[in-house]
């Protein structure tokens, strides 16, 4: 009977790119956090270094409650500088996927809502379409900000930079069949 994997083992092995990520090699030097443009600006509740320490200590619930990984900009600067060769950006991706799969995303975060909307749209048309994505974050803005956003959008539209209609790929049916072969998506028309 196999042992139940620790949280660290789960996260270090969350599918392909994160496979074998040497989280336990972390010496807590803080290079990742001080390099991270978002963490060093004070916009994450836990620095990436702290997240790794919590994972290694098995503090799963604290990690799941953190907003750190949803605020990762995917700039990979931490990864190229880590002196122990840990791919921290992939770790952040892995944590995002983990919380989405286990349906444990925090309330109030735009990231999960935005990502799900994005994925649904691509499954539907094969392309992205900015205006639909707007719905995923507008709810977090105050009224003056919504007006501001509408103004920017209008200006862009007048300059011809915002698509009025969503585009679709030609072989959409094939495309949907391709996706179904990978993971059956149920009714992908939702």
């Amino acid at each position: 009977m196999a042992d139940k994997p620790t949280f660290r083992e789960e996260i270090a092995g969350v599918l392909h790119a994160s496979m074998g990520n040497p989280l336990d090699m972390c010496m807590q030097c803080g290079t990742c956090s001080a390099t991270c443009p978002v963490a060093s600006g004070g916009f994450m509740d836990n620095s990436p270094r702290r997240i790794i320490a919590m994972i290694n200590a098995g503090l799963k619930e604290r990690v799941l409650k953190s907003n750190t990984y949803w605020y990762c900009a995917s700039c990979y600067h931490c990864t190229v500088r880590c002196p122990r060769g840990i791919d921290i950006t992939e770790l952040m991706y892995g944590l995002k996927r983990y919380t989405v799969w286990h349906d444990k995303t925090q309330e109030g975060l735009i990231g999960p809502v935005f990502s799900e909307a994005f994925v649904k749209m691509i499954v539907r048309t094969g392309r992205s379409y900015e205006p639909v994505l707007a719905t995923s974050y507008l709810f977090t803005l105050g009224v003056p900000e919504i007006i501001q956003e509408a103004q920017t959008a209008t200006t862009l539209m007048l300059k011809g930079r915002l698509p009025l209609l969503p585009s679709r790929i030609k072989r959409l049916d094939n495309f949907k069949r391709v996706l179904k072969r990978i993971i059956p998506l149920g009714d992908s028309e939702e």
């Binding site: 599918l15 443009p37 995002k96 994005f118 691509i122 862009l156 300059k159 990978i182």
Partner: protein, 293 residues
């Protein structure tokens, strides 16, 4: 005549149309043809990888398979698309079992990934394949005295592909020098614009954008050159918002490097998509015109 398979990416249809137009126009002058993938789909950006890695790889693999079918290397102008497809190709080549699994799915669209097409960023074509000498030879209006901040951004150089040095790149500066411009020493040239955070954490993204704009202004840049639509949008379209948030008064044009090359080649601004910006590029265009030889 060099030929490549072309993956414009979702942004280049509308939001970054000027990037697409200026790329096609300038490459044509350099005897390079871009053959658009006949039915490309979105690369998944970052959002897809937040939800399911396997599906995300499949999206990219479909594009790669179409390039394999065209028997041409694949060129992506957007750093995000470039990174996703380059990484997908590397993972599938490294893991044949994964490639088999995805190829099983791609069969449903009569496609097969074999990894024969390399993935290139648009700027590499200018700098490596065409070569700086050939670019320089076509310059009729060198952008003499124009102080340009070369903004590499993140996903062109990172993550590392092999063992290369990712902190001391200078190809962007070399390209700008080849078209006669003055590439300023831009300390934050490798820093993040915030990317998708402009949606998911606007406060953070605006702060990053503000730091970049301030740094460029502090070193006397007259224009920021970019090679990625998301960087361009963040730095330009939200400048007004940054000014409101931070009480600054930035008015720094942000252009695609292909637009600058186009101006140096003496191409009409309209062909390069100039005029669709929220921050006027008039000063840059005037500067270019005044150097007409």
């Amino acid at each position: 005549m060099k030929k490549y398979a072309y993956f414009p990416g979702c942004s280049l249809e509308k939001m970054a149309r000027s990037y697409h137009d200026s790329a096609i126009q300038t490459l044509r002058r350099l005897d390079v043809e871009l053959e658009e993938l006949e039915d490309w789909n979105c690369c998944g950006a970052t959002a897809y990888f937040h939800v399911d890695e396997l599906l995300a790889y499949t999206l990219c693999a479909r594009n790669l398979a179409m390039a394999d079918k065209q028997k041409l290397d694949l060129v992506a102008p957007c750093s995000g698309c470039y990174k996703n497809m380059h990484a997908t190709r590397a993972h599938l080549q490294h893991d044949p079992a994964l490639a088999d699994h995805i190829n099983y799915a791609l069969e449903a669209d009569n496609l097969k990934f074999d990894g024969s097409s390399a993935v290139r960023h648009l700027i590499e074509i200018f700098v490596q394949d065409v070569g700086l000498a050939a670019v320089k030879a076509k310059v009729t209006q060198p952008l003499k005295g124009l102080r340009v901040a070369p903004y590499y951004g993140c996903q062109i150089l990172r993550p590392r592909k092999a063992d290369e040095d990712v902190e001391q790149a200078h190809f962007f500066e070399d390209l700008l020098t080849a078209i006669g411009a003055t590439a300023v020493d831009f300390p934050m040239k490798l820093r993040c614009c915030g990317g998708a955070l402009i949606i998911t954490n606007r406060k953070a993204a605006l702060s990053l954008v503000r730091n970049l704009l301030k740094n460029a202004a502090d070193v006397g840049a007259q224009v920021i050159a970019t090679a990625c639509p998301l960087c361009q949008v963040n730095l330009e379209c939200y400048q007004k918002l940054v000014n409101q948030e931070f009480g600054t008064n930035f008015n720094l044009p942000v252009m695609y490097f292909t637009q600058l090359i186009g101006l140096a080649f003496g191409l009409p601004p309209k062909q390069l998509g100039i005029g669709t910006e929220l921050v006027s590029t008039e000063p840059v265009v005037c500067h270019a015109r005044s150097n007409a030889s």
